[in-house]
Symmetry: C2
Subunit: 562 residues, 2 copies
């Protein structure tokens, strides 16, 4: 398309496609105008009467909105490729995501970022990125890579890299850690995502001065208000859990708080949940239920995010904007009638061509050889134990009497053994610990999805099954598996960096169900998904007690146990 083509189409009224009879939401004036919208290929050239086109459609009064934007999401958490993920979310009206490839960067560094960039290059979904700021997430574990400011410079001119991803390490930031300040300086003219749960007062102000300009971790209204006052953009997050968001939304209405700097994100949301309840449209629905004006909700779901991230070509239905749009039956349930993709065409569920990725991305699981003593865990009579709380990701430290043989821990009495095996560079690190509440008997469950360093985590009641489970994941390039009595009951290979598969979504969901059934057959499950629980047990930033490949970690005092 030549630069002049859409201009002449706009001037003469000769469009390539016209949507007639739509209720068009104007995010600038907050009006709903019953009119036509004209496109020239992927570009909106006019809103109003006076356009003809060889193809047109009648919207029958449906509500035409700018395509919705997920302002912060980790694609890798879906375990499927960006294309598969796109085809899950687009039917719910999301046409742009701002993704932080933090997970794949922790495994494969710069090559991982390049891989996910390539995987999202030519999709119907607009996939934009923030450069992961905290790789590794903490100094208490071995990840696959380290990203410094100097590693990021090569990405500064990539058109789909918008800014710096969530700055989770607020302590380093406000203490002026040099590596962190170097990254913040590199991105100082661009959006910088924050991640600062409950940070307040002088510390919050120092964090803001350092650079982060958004936050998606607010858990109550006062936190929203304080952060907005500092000029932060607040991302209302409804991922797989949505604690307290409705209270926040109701209070926004009650206080007449301006919503210009409020937008929506999912962060992490399971594919099944997206399929069942929707994506960003599900947050818009809740917002309207809580009393937010429907047009305001549409703005929060589109325009506000576009503006916050400096995107001047999307987020509105107006001449010159890209024709990424969604038709809703109404602005209450936000049920989708139609979606226009990044090319201005109706969304189409055909898979995209899978690009060729560099081999190291497919060959990411490297552990030092295991033997029958690899999981030997010397214990005293009483030991600190990771206590699971049903339905929650936080754990609690419990001191338990444990069984032993020859001074080594013997699982049983509701206690399982947990191992975190360094799996990136075969360094030989294995952290060992005891977990209560996983309730596995006669088997083991293993995963290479283990936030944020994605080491190989395995839990079980006997060393043999644990070792078989770990080695089974090495064999398939990573993933999840359930082993019992020497047999692999179920396995989900995730060959891309050990965290993503290019298998179709339906197949992934089917294997996930098989994995859960297999885990249940060992006794694991109940209120919590044991796979999710397992994949968070190695994350040292969540209270209260975790295990990394370097040992048992006191996540409240930020140090290892003796």
């Amino acid at each position: 398309m030549k630069q002049n083509d859409p201009i002449q189409a706009a001037r003469t009224g000769k469009a390539t496609f016209v949507i007639r009879n739509a209720n068009v939401v104007n995010v600038f004036t907050k009006e709903i105008l019953h009119t036509d919208v004209a496109l020239y290929e992927d570009t909106i050239i006019g809103v109003g009467a006076g356009y003809t086109a060889p193809k047109e459609m009648d919207a029958h009064g449906a509500y035409l909105c700018p395509g919705f934007i997920d302002a912060h999401v980790h694609i890798e958490s879906s375990m499927v490729t960006p294309d598969s993920f796109a085809r899950v979310i687009m039917p719910h009206g999301t046409t742009t995501i701002i993704a932080d490839p933090h997970e794949i960067a922790n495994v494969a560094g710069v090559a991982g970022i390049r891989a996910i960039y390539k995987l999202s290059d030519d999709l119907q979904l607009r996939v934009l990125f923030m450069m992961p700021s905290c790789v590794p997430a903490t100094p208490f574990e071995h990840s696959g890579a380290t990203l410094l400011a100097e590693d990021m410079e090569q990405f500064m001119r990539k058109s789909r890299i918008l800014g710096l991803g969530e700055v989770m390490d607020s302590v380093s930031t406000i203490n002026g850690n040099k590596d962190m300040l170097d990254k913040l300086r590199l991105f100082d003219k661009r959006p910088i995502d924050g991640h600062a749960p409950l940070l307040s007062g002088l510390d919050l102000n120092a964090y803001r001065v350092a650079g982060p300009s958004t936050d998606h971790e607010c858990s109550n209204y006062d936190e929203v208000l304080e952060k907005l006052r500092t000029g932060m953009k607040v991302l209302i997050r409804i991922g797989s859990a949505a604690n307290g968001i409705d209270e926040i939304l109701k209070k926004i209405v009650e206080d007449h708080l301006p919503t210009d700097n409020i937008m929506f994100c999912t962060d992490d949301k399971h594919i099944e949940n997206i399929q069942r309840e929707g994506h960003i449209n599900c947050i818009a629905r809740l917002a309207v239920q809580c009393g937010i004006d429907p047009v305001e909700a549409v703005r929060m779901a589109s325009y506000n995010a576009a503006r916050a991230y400096g995107l001047n070509m999307i987020g509105a239905i107006a001449p010159g904007y890209k024709a990424e749009m969604v038709l809703f039956k109404d602005l209450k349930d936000f049920e989708v009638v139609g979606v226009f993709n990044r090319f201005g065409k109706p969304f189409d569920d055909t898979p995209a061509h899978m690009p060729v990725l560099p081999p190291q991305v497919f060959n990411s699981v490297h552990i030092a050889p295991l033997d029958e003593h690899s999981f030997d865990l010397p214990v005293k009579a009483e030991m600190p134990v990771i206590g699971l709380i049903p339905g929650q990701l936080v754990t609690e430290k419990r001191i338990k009497r444990v069984r032993s043989e020859n001074g080594l821990f013997l699982p049983g009495d509701g206690l399982n053994k947990l191992a975190v095996i360094e799996r990136h560079h075969a360094l030989g690190y294995i952290g060992l610990g005891i977990v209560e509440g996983m309730n596995i008997t006669n088997g083991a469950i293993a995963s290479t999805v283990a936030h944020d360093s994605h080491n190989l985590v395995v839990v079980g009641d006997n060393d043999r099954d644990m070792r078989i489970a770990a080695e089974s994941l090495v064999d398939c390039g990573g993933g999840f598996c359930v082993v019992s009595q020497g047999i692999v009951l179920s396995r989900l290979p995730l060959p891309i960096a050990g965290i993503i598969t290019d298998a179709p979504v339906a197949q992934v969901l089917e294997i996930q169900r098989a994995l859960l059934d297999a885990a249940a057959s060992l006794g694991a499950g109940g209120q919590s998904d044991p796979l999710v629980t397992l994949s968070f047990l190695a994350l040292p930033v969540i209270p209260a007690i975790r295990l990394t490949d370097e040992g048992l970690f006191d996540a409240e005092n930020f140090r290892f146990f003796e």
Copy 2:
């Protein structure tokens, strides 16, 4: 200042300066919070309690706002240097201007832009620029320079060049003129100012598709509404004239139109008027009088403009923002109590150091030699005449019987002779015409300020005085002068490009009064300022009849008279 210094100051509460007891306008939440504001040098590090500093001030409850922003202004129209202009406007609370150096670019091209950039390099005022898009303004006259996209590339990395300046030539734009599209493409990721009075419907949409994203020419509410709907930012302009703006503001209130994309500008405002009524604060005052909420008015005067032009470090009082602020006695009259400049220090009227400019900027007036026949104007019995309308810039075409001698025009009966002399490259072009309503007897008035090409324009009732006036301006490098009976009665030299002087403001105003007195002694004046009238007589884009160095121009049909 090191990157870490303000962060640590924010964290520890150890500021360099604290403003206590202010009513702080928060543009994000639209609140007014009675509290303290802490600075570290030029940066705001916190709003709230908990800060100490070696120096502090008590605001006594005055209203602390982000420094006001003039979103579109031509510094050259003030005829003084950026430093002098800064010291005129800053006492009225304006701390940032977005300037279009269109006038100096028409005279001196790239060198002119470099000169005004240098003249504004180190001021207390933040001076940002848009690259002039229409040099020359029209093909119907000779200007000093031509600016193509290729000439602009060298400026793309200059930190104070924000985008492309007002795209006045909407016809070329929507017709897809290649030179224009090249410029628009060069700036397609940046703000592009529009200038599209009364453009509407398909033409407006085509103009938007081409790129311009702001407009400061709206003269009625429907035009505002239509342009906002297209996603344009609307700049409410009150320069030296303010026709109909109060009606627009009242209707915005009545219609509950969102103001996020509305901001303020002056475009051109005489220094005397600024001194008398204020600058951007004068527009805020009118907005509040018209019913705009005072906090909304502050947002329009600061935050909205910052956001529209992608400025994320100014426009708000919050940690990390630059401490460019203004204290007002109230948010009704917007009387200024104090101003904090670009360095976070109280405004100080000391002149800045005058930088060295390249010699060609001081040596810009070059005309072919004049002789006693240069102004010979052959006429018929009846001639088209430029008819002045008192108090207006538009002219009307009048057909008049004229006196003549040997077939040449003889001034008299209320008719003067007008000449526009090409003055950039001594090409020898002289346009000649007849003007009614200037009312000069026994003399001539000349100017090298003649929008937009700034040729030498001279009007009088006899050729001798006209020639003396023109040559007097050549001698002093340009400016204004009034001549009677062979004697220069008064002269304002404007040695920088023939349109700006480095003389102090008070002296400029004094000479301007002397010029007006001298003009009045010839009979010129009355309802209109004859100097302003003269400087617009060569502008071919204003109806109905104009004179350029190439001849008498029919500004309604965009062609020369036969």
